[in-house]
Amino acid sequence: MIKALSSKIFFRSILIFNAVMVLVPVLFLINSSLRETNDFARNPIKLATSPHWANFSNVWADGAFATYLKNSLIITVGSTALILTLALGAGFVLGRYTFKSQNLIMGFILSGMLVPAKLAILPLFIQLKWMHLLDSHIGLILVYTSGALPAAIFIMSGFFRSLPADLDSAARIDGASEFQLLRLVLTPLVRPGLSIVAIYSAIPIWNDFFLPLVFLQTPEKKTIMQGLTVFFGEYSSQWGIIFAGLTLAALPLIVLYLILSEQFIKGLTAGAVKG
């Protein structure tokens, strides 16, 4: 009995220790973003009792930051929308129809899941240059779409396959066209799959650093993660502004995560966990 209780306390304290390790740095970041630079320099560890909101307006006043955020938003939303649309259609066809080249196409998609984007970065660079898609948001959106699409199609075709076959014949008997069947009958039923694919695609794209670093050169086109490196260089000892910038870049995702944590965990571990 005592042994069971002590092991319970042991495992609980591990989780509490872990939570402290995770939360303290994040809270330190947010707290410091509300402190004045000189105040921070005098004593880095202190609560922001009277929030110094000017840090945030200073970050915003540097117009570049807002541009970086806007660019990241365009690229992330654009890629995710394209991935969802294409994966919905392809997943429907592969999950619901039977046709001759189906296994071949499925094999191609599985092999596409194994190719890491970094492997192809040099030829891709030259190819994009040749297509006039280098240093452009559209080019980056297409590269992200291509990278995430195989896994997205794989996930969606699984969701489509798991729906009962009677749905299709019933809808067809009622006179639904194939497009109506997809849009009105099946799409609402694969919504959990779409949310997994959305998170699986959007978070890594929002967070990505490597591809924008290589493909985007014009300062006005850069994403927030690239922008942060510029920002950090520019304001290297202005702590208030630095912390406010980091907080501003991190906060949207933290808030979304707190609302949708279950979907986040499912989406980001999709592909690593079966089922």
Binding site: S7, F11, I14, L15, N18, A19, M21, V22, P25, V26, F28, L29, S32, F40, A41, P44, I45, L86, A90, V93, Y97, F99, I105, G112, V115, P116, A117, K118, A120, I121, L122, P123, L124, I126, Q127, K129, L142, S146, G147, L149, P150, I153, G175, E178, N207, F209, F210, L228, T229, I242, L246, L253, I254, Y257, S261, I265, L268, T269, A272, V273
Partner: protein, 306 residues
Amino acid sequence: MSRSGLQREQRKFTFLLLAPGLLTVVIFTSVPALTTLSYAFFHWKGFQRGTFAGFENFHRLFSFPFRDQFLMALRHNVLVFVGIFTLQTTIGILIAYSLYRMIKGQRFFRTVTFLPVIFSLVIVGYMWQALLDPFYGPINNILHSIGLDSFARTWLGSTSTALPTLVFINLWRWVGFPAIIFLSGFNAINQEYLEAARIDGASEGQIFRKVMFPLLAPSMTIVAILTFIGAFEWFDLPYVLGGSSGGPAGATDTLALMFYRLSFGSVDSGANEIGIGSALGVLIFSIVGVGAAFGSKYLRSREVDV
């Protein structure tokens, strides 16, 4: 609708819905991936392809000055893999098992555990740079204030501590991922085995070691392979905190950083070395591909069939 009419509509639909996606993947993934190998066998001047080079690029990669850079970077990648894998597996399993044993309040701790995984490594890197700042960072401040002055140091600025510090930061950001994978591994274990062991009088510790740990093998395979790939493509964190040359003094240089320097490092002056960069790229992906293939084969064979 007649049967053949339906078939015609389905054929049209199949083409309309599959073609755009497949075409995108072919153009932006397959074609570049297939041509990448050939790049290593040509001379390059900036982004202009020259004559056939045979194995010259590989030869130059293994001569001065690239050879020493390559070997040092490779050594760092190996150390990073061993360090991250050992730490995150041990800590990840410990967290996962603690979560598994906790019935009430599991959700809160699970959410917290996974939180850092959603952060960009750029944000994580800068956050820790501030935390570890030699003068203003709270970590050194705390060490000073509790009288452990000798432990305070320039964590990211000295060659002896920079790489271990980066490994720690990476661990902070990523350990939630294996923890959640291991947790789902624990949850997938059939309760009947555990009941049977309990009836036989096994202690919880014995059950963990003799029953649960071996059944965790599939999760272990996934974590090991993903960690291996991640460690040999390690780029973001060392770039953000040490720059493209893996500072201080190359102490955090990695193969991916070296690849980036060779391929894009001096693009503006046209002095980048695409040929040698591609040769290095081919080597990195041979290491990753062969390692992951053999690793998963070996690890799979250890998984128990139930």
